[in-house]
């Protein structure tokens, strides 16, 4: 119970921080915001690493392996494409 309350507290506060931070992003940058936050949602790779690293059966190891690959594709693809996109935004010289 204690742990649940703690986790819920973290969850609720993080949602508020999220709302606060994102509402200030201008439409100009909505696509990089999406791909950037997309990369952050790949954070599930941490869970995938833990699950794969502690696999007790072959089945679990395979599930974990696929999860690591997919999540890491999400992370690297997301951050890299955001970087590429942001590099194109420039002011009038």
């Amino acid at each position: 119970m204690e742990a649940l309350v703690m986790m819920l507290t973290v969850f609720v506060l993080a949602v508020f921080v999220g709302f606060e931070v994102i509402s200030k992003v201008p439409p100009l940058l909505h696509t990089p915001l999406m791909s950037g936050s997309n990369a952050i949602s790949g954070v599930t790779v941490l869970g995938a690493i833990i699950a794969t690293g502690a696999a007790v059966t072959t089945g679990m190891r395979w599930l974990g392996f696929v999860a690591v690959v997919l999540a890491m594709t999400n992370v690297v693809g997301g951050f890299a494409v955001t970087h590429r996109m942001l590099g194109m935004f420039r002011r009038k010289k």
């Binding site: 742990a3 200030k24 679990m60 599930l63 997919l70 494409v81 970087h83």
Partner: protein, 461 residues
């Protein structure tokens, strides 16, 4: 110690999102987020109880390779698909982690999971798999490999979705009561996958910005539930940040279309095709048809020109041509601006990215609210592949399905040029009175070809 490093990563994500709010700090912000992720991954490898390093490292390497290739090779016009695809990957990964955790408990019953973790596993399976299949439908649809752009709504779709959802919840309850790899686990997985398809299929091409935002939000929530499974605050914080960000963007998109969230989700907007064409209720309407030479002459004598791009510009990959035309105009001392509607294109900010790719400076990109007051003083507006977002019926015709939607008031400019393939209505299937206005000139043809012809005609003058 591990949790402390996760906190550091979470803080870096918050800074990353914060810095993405301005083009000046965005690059550093994105790198900050990437660095935070690197720290979290290394910390997990070091202190996460990993035994089987070869499998984990192979997975990380393979994923990095795929990710890097996707990021480097995807053209800017395909960004909506790419984001959609990656959303799906994140969702699937979360669901797989929850599945793996269930397998572990199944084989080591002595380490029983808490009730919270089991409920979180069920939720993670549901959200994760529906994010995955939903994203795949969105991806296939954006590629136009499936169903085209029109919404597909068959009779009773929403009731069927509701029934599947209820069945999924009931199966989830069974799974929570007896957490093992058995029929409830497989059934829940299958139901979630079907639900993802059922929820996405009725939503049409023009509503894709909303779907992409929503799936983005789901992928964050899936990561968040995985955090509850593993009792991992790093995942909970990051997942909820993304969940919140997706919801906000969804909301902004809905407002820009003057539609409620539920209407987009359940509306099947534009599923019924209206009978439209040049012969409307008031008899046959006439359009003024122009050619490149005539249009170039009008452009040359203008002082201010505004481009209003839409999805058609993306399809025709016309952004570089538009920049070329804009350069010709600027050379002649004509003021050039771009009017960007929030839902123009297939994802939020789609037009901005394409024009940035064509090296249009971002201070020439104007948001709808700011540019609308300038249209009455604008000499020429060139509409390129946009339809519903410039449809004055949204302002005047209360019977129109898009009535009340905020639009770019291009019809208030002195001259409007519309570059379009034909008089066919857009994705929403709504006739556009803009085309029949006396100050509108229709330029029929492929967006890219026509814009290049205009630039050429301008040079010939």
């Amino acid at each position: 110690m591990l949790n402390l490093l996760y906190l550091l990563a979470a803080v870096s994500f918050i800074f990353a999102l914060k810095m993405l709010a301005s083009p000046k700090t965005a690059v550093v912000g994105n790198l900050t987020g990437a660095l935070g992720m690197l720290v979290a991954i290394v910390a997990t490898l070091y202190a996460g109880g990993v035994v089987d390093f070869p499998t984990v490292l192979a997975g990380l390497a393979l994923g990095s390779l795929f990710g890097a290739l996707l990021a480097a090779l995807t053209p800017m016009t395909a960004m909506p698909e790419m984001v959609g695809l990656l959303n799906g990957f994140g969702g699937a990964a979360s669901a797989l982690v929850a599945s793996a955790e269930l397998v572990r408990v199944h084989h080591t019953p002595e380490e029983s999971l808490g009730l919270v973790a089991i409920i979180a596993i069920a939720l993670s399976l549901l959200i994760g798999w529906l994010t995955f299949t939903g994203s795949m439908v969105a991806f296939l649809r954006l590629r136009e490999w499936l169903l085209g752009g029109r919404p597909t709504l068959f009779f009773g779709q929403h009731w069927l979705n509701l029934a599947i959802f209820i069945a999924a919840v009931l199966t989830g309850v069974l799974l929570v009561q007896k957490p093992e790899v058995g029929p409830p686990f497989y059934i829940l997985t299958a139901l979630a996958a079907v639900l993802g398809v059922g929820l996405t299929i009725p939503i049409g091409g023009a509503d894709m910005p909303v779907v992409i935002c929503l799936l983005n939000s789901y992928s964050g929530m899936a990561a968040c539930t995985t955090g509850f499974v593993l009792n991992n605050n790093g995942l909970i914080i990051s997942g909820s940040l993304v969940g919140a960000s997706g919801i906000i963007l969804t909301n902004i998109m809905c407002k820009a279309m003057n539609r409620s969230f539920t209407n987009v989700l359940f509306g099947g907007f534009g599923a019924t095709v209206q009978e439209v064409g040049a012969a409307g209720p008031g008899g046959p309407k006439t359009v003024r048809r122009g050619d490149a030479e005539e249009a170039a002459m009008i452009l040359e004598s203008a002082r201010s020109v505004v481009f209003a791009p839409g999805y058609g510009m993306a399809v025709a990959q016309a952004q570089h041509a538009v920049k070329e035309l804009a350069d010709e105009l600027t050379k002649r001392g004509i003021d050039v601006k771009y009017a960007i509607h929030p839902v123009a294109g297939r994802m939020p900010g789609h037009m901005n990215v394409l024009l940035a790719e064509a090296q249009v400076p971002y201070d020439q990109l104007w948001e709808m609210e700011k540019i609308n007051s300038l249209f009455p003083e604008t000499d020429v507006v060139v509409v390129i592949g946009a339809n519903d977002v410039v449809n004055p019926a949204a302002r005047t015709d209360s019977s129109s399905p898009i009535y009340g939607m905020p639009i770019l008031d291009v019809d208030r400019a002195r001259t409007v040029m519309v570059i379009k393939r034909s008089l066919n209505p857009g994705f929403a299937g709504i006739d556009n009175p803009l085309y029949y206005l006396p100050n509108t000139m229709m330029l029929f043809g492929d967006a890219k070809k026509m814009v290049l012809e205009l630039a050429e005609a301008l040079r010939q003058l």
